[in-house]
């Protein structure tokens, strides 16, 4: 029998629907894989074997009863630990939420359950999604399946590593500054940040509310599209949810793979090149651009001068929103409480709890945001960053009058070593250089693997950016490029990863 964990989500769903395998067999194969390899990867913070098998049994029962199964019924998934799951631990990678059992499901969680997706467990992440390496998890770093001494990206390193080590064919991530796309790039997997407002944020613990966006992670573009459609759509419980039809991303992925992208205008962002970009990353990116040209796309260089200021603007806006959002962790209603011994006031208990419960990066960002928002500095920092945000949106608007999509490397380098940037925040922040502008503008982005860097043999990601609510363009271009690359390589890129 073929290894059930090596299949795509689409293949698995088809095999369950036609009775070739049961959903329980699929779930068991993945739970076995987790038991075999995750002590080395640390992709999961919590494995819910009982819940996964119960969900799988329900799928098998539906099929036996002749009910029609949804397009992802019975497919296992790793859910980033930022989404609430009723009665199942949700830590956000933080000590402050250790042992918390949420009293409600996030909308994404609910939609996954309604789609009969089998949730295997909760995936590891940088604490409250703040980081680019998953080293900021209070529960230990996740390791990159391509090289266990290297980071799997972040904040959603657990989700990406689970895919790359065949512990799950699907995962959910969140992308505030690149936390879906950057882990995708450095693990050789696909990650999509949908248009802001495309996927409900209800029950997704807030870090930076104007930037946070949940989205799909997978090993193929089509699988990401299937997951995208399962979780996207209007939700009255999220006041920023877009009340409009979900872009037809599955159809776009199928069209891209079969009919290509002839005549499509592709812009190469001039700003995402030069100093700090690894030679092998640039090489694979340029080869992919030539491949897009060979597929019939028209390639144009696009100048987005304000993108050079996206990183500093982001590191004012995101910490400002974080300092406000994380004020909710006050030790009163849920989570950790330290120092409640009768001698300390409520305010002192709050400060003692936050000191004990938050890690260094979270503290840094809370204080940075508090600084940027304080009177006397507000205009120079937060206010100015908001104006830069306007200029970035204008650059995107101008670009999308000339081209249908933009492309760039997803990250300036391949996966770096664990510990290499851990105590140098500015070096760490550079990992998100190319992904951040999209979050500030609220439009859509995808990363997909485009080869291995010759100098280190590690995956390189190509980023595609599309206008807001044109997420389908990502899938059209992504699927076309994926098909062309697969033809060149002769096998999926993850077949080249070392065996675990």
């Amino acid at each position: 029998m073929t290894d059930l964990t090596k299949r795509t989500a689409a293949e698995t769903a088809a095999a369950i629907a036609n009775g070739e395998v049961s959903a329980v067999e699929v779930a068991e194969a993945h739970l076995d894989r987790i038991a075999k390899v995750d002590d080395r990867i640390n992709a999961f913070l919590h494995v819910d074997a009982e819940g996964a098998l119960a969900a799988a049994r329900a799928v098998d029962a539906k099929r036996a009863a002749g009910e029609k199964l949804g397009p992802l019924a019975g497919v296992p998934l790793a859910l980033k630990d930022l989404f609430t799951t009723r009665g199942i631990p949700t830590t956000c990678g933080s000590k402050i939420l250790e042992g918390w059992l949420p009293p409600y499901d996030a909308t994404v969680t609910r939609r996954l359950r309604e789609a009969d997706v089998v949730i295997l467990g909760k995936s590891n992440m940088d604490e409250f999604a703040m980081g680019s390496s998953t080293e900021n998890s209070a529960y230990g770093p996740t390791r990159n399946p391509w090289d266990l001494d290297r980071i799997p990206g972040g904040s959603g390193g657990g989700s990406a590593a689970a895919l790359a080590s065949f512990q799950a064919p699907l995962a959910i991530g969140t992308d505030t500054g690149g936390s879906i796309r950057q882990p995708g790039a450095v693990t050789g997997t696909v990650g999509v940040k949908p248009t802001y407002g495309g996927v409900s944020r209800y029950g997704m613990v807030a870090f930076s509310s104007s930037l946070d966006q949940g989205g799909p992670c997978a090993r193929t573009v089509l699988d990401a599209a299937l997951l995208h459609e399962a979780i996207a759509g209007y939700d009255m419980l999220d006041s920023t949810s877009i009340d409009a039809p979900v872009p037809a991303v599955v159809e776009a992925a199928k069209l891209g793979a079969t009919q290509g992208i002839k005549g499509l205008r592709v812009g190469v962002v001039k700003q995402f090149a030069g100093e700090g970009y690894q030679a092998g990353v640039v090489q694979r990116f340029q080869e992919s651009v030539e491949l897009l040209r060979a597929l019939g796309a028209e390639i144009v260089e696009i100048d987005c001068p304000s993108f050079d200021f996206a990183l500093p603007a982001y590191y004012l806006i995101a910490p400002s929103e974080c300092s406000s959002n994380l004020a909710r962790f006050d030790a009163m209603r849920y989570g950790l409480r330290v120092g409640d011994d009768g001698a300390h006031s409520a305010e002192e208990v709050t400060a003692l709890t936050r000191e004990a419960g938050f890690g260094a990066e979270v503290k840094r960002r809370i204080m940075l945001g508090t600084y940027a928002l304080s009177s006397g500095y507000y205009d120079a920092y937060y206010g100015q960053a908001q104006k830069v945000r306007t200029l970035i949106i204008r650059d995107f608007e101008a670009a999308f009058t000339q081209v249908d999509v933009l492309v760039s490397p997803t990250t300036p380098t391949t996966a770096f070593k664990i510990g290499e940037r851990a105590d140098d925040p500015m070096a760490m922040y550079l990992a998100d250089l190319c992904t951040i502008p999209t979050n500030l503008a609220g439009n859509a982005g995808m990363s997909l693997p485009c080869g291995l860097a010759p100098e280190d043999g590690l995956p390189v990601g190509l980023q595609i950016l599309a206008p807001a609510m044109a997420d389908d363009r990502l899938y059209r271009v992504g699927a076309a490029l994926e098909a062309a690359l697969l033809e060149q390589w002769g096998r999926p890129i993850l077949d080249l990863a070392p065996a675990l």
């Binding site: 918390w100 059992l101 009293p103 409600y104 802001y196 407002g197 209800y202 104007s210 009255m236 419980l237 006041s239 920023t240 304000s306 200021f309 500093p312 603007a313 590191y315 004012l316 006050d330 209603r333 849920y334 989570g335 409480r337 409640d340 009768g342 300390h344 006031s345 409520a346 002192e348 208990v349 709050t350 400060a351 936050r354 000191e355 938050f358 260094a360 503290k363 840094r364 809370i366 204080m367 940075l368 508090t370 600084y371 940027a372 304080s374 206010g383 100015q384 960053a385 908001q386 104006k387 830069v388 945000r389 306007t390 200029l391 949106i393 925040p425 500015m426 609220g442 439009n443 807001a468």
Partner: protein, 102 residues
């Protein structure tokens, strides 16, 4: 020039309700100073007539009917919520002393 001093970090920590250790104050002062120095680059762009953007989408408030919602829509169960509290008493959250005692 040092933008952020150790004293300033201590002030920020108080505002942020973080009971930082002495060692953390030193470490964060150095790091925050470097970060603020880097992000201050936003002032290099001319933005005289540029309006600020707080949010990429137009924001409108969302209202719902003030009616009891049916089961299945998110209604939190009181016992389930209180079971997750650090301390609870008589169907309420139990919190440490808030006002001065006298």
């Amino acid at each position: 020039m040092s933008a952020i001093t150790r004293e300033e970090v201590a002030h920020l920590a108080r505002l942020s309700r973080l009971e930082l250790s002495e060692a953390e104050l030193d470490h964060f002062a150095e790091q925050l100073d470097a970060i603020v120095g880097a992000v201050a680059r936003v002032s290099e762009l001319p933005t005289e007539d540029v309006p600020p953007t707080s949010h990429a989408l137009p924001m409108t408030n969302v209202f719902r009917q003030d009616v009891v919602r049916p089961a299945g829509t998110p209604i939190l169960d009181r016992a389930e919520v209180l079971a997750q509290a650090p301390a609870a008493e008589d169907d309420r959250f139990r919190v440490p002393r808030i006002l001065g005692e006298d």
